[in-house]
Subunit: 123 residues, 2 copies
Amino acid sequence: MATEDELDRAFLALADPVRRTIVARLSRGSATVNELADLFPISKQAVSKHIQVLEQAGLVTRSRDAQRRPVHLAPERLEALTAWIDRYRLVREAQYRSLDALLGSSDPGAPPHHAPPDKEHPS
Amino acid sequence: MATEDELDRAFLALADPVRRTIVARLSRGSATVNELADLFPISKQAVSKHIQVLEQAGLVTRSRDAQRRPVHLAPERLEALTAWIDRYRLVREAQYRSLDALLGSSDPGAPPHHAPPDKEHPS
DNA sequence: GCCTTCGTCAACCAGATGGTTGACAACGCC
DNA sequence: GGCGTTGTCAACCATCTGGTTGACGAAGGC
């Protein structure tokens, strides 16, 4: 299970097309900084920073190979993200489905399909 | 399927503990801005901004109820996120598992477990 | 009609982010 | 030892973010 701060960093890391492309590339095998930099029209320093963000987010790891520092994907953290999302997605979809089945259809403009706002925090 | 820009906004939206808490709260039912603001020690204007971020990310929708504007979770976009993550997570874990089974164990410092970096972008 | 509640808009501020360039350390090849 | 390769560190800059406060529009209750 990831801490709040780890979730922060992991989601933030994926909120950038460059870093998502890096993840996609790494899912097909490790790569060096220069190899990854070839994928983008930005400097290798910028790519190095992106990798640091991914590393601090726990999404990638690095090893040593002479002067190279290959980057590898760390799927465990990805799994933690889907776990977080699914916790709320599934609850919600279950509500949708059960009530959609009940109501037949729902007004997309004002989705009622569930109990009135469960005010657990009234003023 | 979500566009790159939509993924950007959705991941960015979840990269904040306040917004994640809002999502968690909404998974148990809709809520108004003031109800959500009660959950945090910040102004309702700030919460309103967070909701705008979530709305532009496609993670929540809003409806009208007199002068209230209830916020509802939109699970479809959450589903798109897990779909994106799983695409790369599963590939990667399949590699891990098959090679872990093959090798018995792997050096965590320098995970080799697959073919040498598939250089599709050599200089 | 008046006032309260709900929510947003605008202006502003401190700090983080993503990019640049330049210098430099580490390693291996000759 | 000298050189090319790989990658990082530091300084700098423009832009975005998350928060504030203050004013204001919209909808109902009285």
